[in-house]
């Protein structure tokens, strides 16, 4: 199987001269099509930096990132924006919905930007809204709905373009456990039924247990990788907790 995402020796350094801070160094891994990959690590380990770099929101100092057959390192700012529009979907911890748009319009936005015909937009929006259970909320404004509903709206917006790769940055960070479970189940469902490729950054072992594979980052380096294989979600959850306590730092986050 050819990998969808190929990360080779990626490094990211902030600052100049004596004041440099290395956020990422020498990270290499691959993600195949249809995988649900989690990235874990203690606070400040570089999880979000890695995701931002992969998501083309930030640029790496060294190394190559190849999505499909496109090398992101060689692209200009404008090309990157277009690439994001056409290939990537994002789910953020703080939803990042636009307050001035209704739920429907928020979901429509990426399709409108991609200049899709109105009819096709409607069909897609209705389908994705049904999938996330927000069909009744379409004409409300973000300030009128709850956090969980906002995150489902944000997820619908990320997925409505049917992106090759979905990035989620602590998507359950601001949700209560019920809403978090609902969202994770929807994502997992999407991953299994539609073979959507998802990469999720989280420090929550429960959220991570929905993934099939987890990469651990520590001090900017890849430190460990575990696979779910045939384990149940609960067994996998236990394994994650063990790894976290063995690499330290993360336990506090969990408890």
């Amino acid at each position: 199987m050819t990998p969808l995402l190929k990360v080779q020796n990626v490094g990211k350094t902030y600052g100049k001269g004596a004041n440099t801070f290395t956020a990422l160094s020498n990270i290499s891994f691959e993600v195949g099509k249809g995988e649900f990959v989690g990235v874990m690590g203690p606070s400040g380990a570089g999880k979000s930096t890695l995701l931002n770099v992969l998501a083309t929101i930030d640029t790496p100092t060294t190394g190559e990132i190849i999505i499909g057959d496109t090398n992101l390192a060689r692209m200009k700012d404008a090309e990157l924006a277009d690439f994001r529009r056409d290939n990537l979907g994002f789910i953020f911890q703080d939803y990042n919905l636009l307050d001035s748009l209704t739920v429907r319009e928020n979901i429509v936005l990426p399709l409108a930007i991609a200049k899709m015909p109105t009819k096709a937009i409607n069909a897609r929006v209705d389908r994705i809204a049904a999938l996330f259970g927000i069909s009744d909320l379409l004409d409300k404004y973000p300030y009128q709905i709850s956090g969980g509903q906002k995150q489902r709206t944000a997820s619908s917006r990320a997925l409505v373009t049917e992106p090759k790769l979905i990035f989620a940055d602590e998507p359950t960070g601001a949700l209560d456990s019920k809403s978090a479970t609902d969202l994770l189940e929807s994502l997992s469902d999407l991953n299994q039924t539609q073979a959507a490729t998802i990469m999720m950054v989280t420090h929550d072992a429960f959220a991570a247990s929905f993934c099939q594979r987890i990469l651990f980052i520590q001090d900017g380096r890849l430190s460990k990788e575990i696979h779910r294989g045939t384990l149940t979600r609960k067994q996998f959850f236990q394994e994650i907790l063990q790894v976290l306590s063995s690499i330290g730092g993360g336990v506090n986050d969990v408890i």
Partner: protein, 624 residues
Amino acid sequence: MTLFSLARKNIQRNLSNYFLYIASMVFSIVIYFTFVTLKYNDDLSALKQSSQQIKGLMSASSVVLLFFIVIFMAYSNSFFMKKRKKEVALYSLLGVRKQKIGLMLFFENLVIGLVSLVLGIVLGFFMSQGLLMILVRLMGYEVVGSLTFSMDALMNTTGIFTLLFLFTSLQGYRVIYQFKLIDLFHAEKQGEQIPRASLVAALLGTALIAFGYYTAASDMFTSEIWRFFTVLGTPLMVIGVTIAGTYLLFHTVSVFVLTALKRATSWSWKGLNLIGVSQLLYRIRANAKSLSIIAILSATTITAGGGVFGMYYNAEATVRQMLPNTFMWKGDTVEFSQKDVLYNEALSVKNLRVDNEFSFFEYTLLKESDYNRLAKLQGKDQELHIADGSTVLLDAAYDDRFSHDFTGEDFKLQNGDSFHVERMFTESVLNFIPAGTVLVVNDQEFTATNDAEEVIMQVVGLDNDLKQQDVSQDIYKQLSSEQQESFSSVPQSYEDSLATVGALLFVGSFLGLVFLAATGSIIYFKILTEAEEDQAKYAILNKIGVNSKQILKTVAGQVAVIFSAPLIVGIVHSAFALLAFSQLFGMNITKPVILWMVAYSAIYFIYYIFTVRSFYKIVRQGNN
């Protein structure tokens, strides 16, 4: 730490935030101080007859200016307070009593006021001296303005602005007492409630504006409306009606158009159109209010500037219309410098007393051959061949509202003879003083008309005639007192009208400039504050794959709507106001008015470019 030092340190540390606010305060003070300095200036009052007019004009204008400054300061103060809401909330959250926060803001405002007052007066002093020179030159005088510091102006400015600062400080207090902690968490997320696009309000708005336009465009001498509201009341009524109409129109029509656009998904769901429309709708109430204010300000500026510029532009034309020859007087010729002389003729004409059913008047009878010769000398491409018993009437003072058009009628003379009026020209070849209305007849008829007094008239044409003031005085001195009464001179008349119109032009363009700068600044403030609030939104857009070019496009589009809507309304408003104005003075001011509108729009456009650039810069900062 005392409250005072806390306030002082607050300003020191947040200087960049305060900069815009202080700048707008200083700006207001500079403008006002400059203006009152000019008002109290001794050099100006020492000037000739027009000084009384200027004083009156300046007093009236300073009231307008003050009114405007109050609006402007209230505006920038409320922007400033809005920006600081979070800071106030933080103090409140940390447990500082509202009373204390209020006292602190009060001190702060006082410090800002003091600093801007000193800065403004120093800058205003230098600016007033510069402007004084310009004013004197525009009026065509050669007085050297000396640097004088006017105590009156200082007292006036200090007094007024102390009052204003007290007022804005109280406004600050009000904000603090109205403020609720919950605002900190929900601030601005909610957007403004979208007002209903009511058909009644839209119709009412349109009707009000239409009525205002109709009144302005109708003839003030015959219109019933003008008679009913009187000449003084009607303009006020028109202004009131138009302002109300403008507000209603912006309030309802903008909502109507924007929601319609948003609903038309085949348009709005294309690219970033959705964002542009939603952003405009999001702040619709505030937008409606500020767009109306801007539209009214623009209309005022364009009208004032256009009217005054039109008069200045017409000053020469009016003089030339009445006085086609550089000099003209009755009687014998005199000695004068022959430099620049194009022609110097003695004309033999006849003085006619004519009675007709409308009035009796003195007319000048002119030979066809003399007419043709003079017309050629004056560069008019016209040769007359008049039949026996006919005449061509030359009436430079013709006004179709008051004057009778004789074309095609018989013009009866005192002795019972009559001429058939073939044509009438509003351009004469003789100066209106002393010739008045002129009848041109062919040479035989001229000789045949014998019961009219023969008069000799001197006509002189000079090159570069506007600058021939010395020659004009030279001639004037040599004339007998009777001749002096009949003497007319282009340079003299031009200078006289410049003295009045020049002062008008100065006041007009000064106010125009102030209004323009302030209008631009209001929009600039408004948009930039919004840009800061919207930073996060554009950051989201960037993350979901909108490139910077598209963001620039939608930003430029939104700002264009906010700039162009009031400009267009302002231009249309002022077009009707100027129509009334040109009627009142019987002047054709189309060309200068269009020039002025273009100039205004051009400066406005520069503001637009600046605003878009700053907006875009702020938005881009949010991406990183």
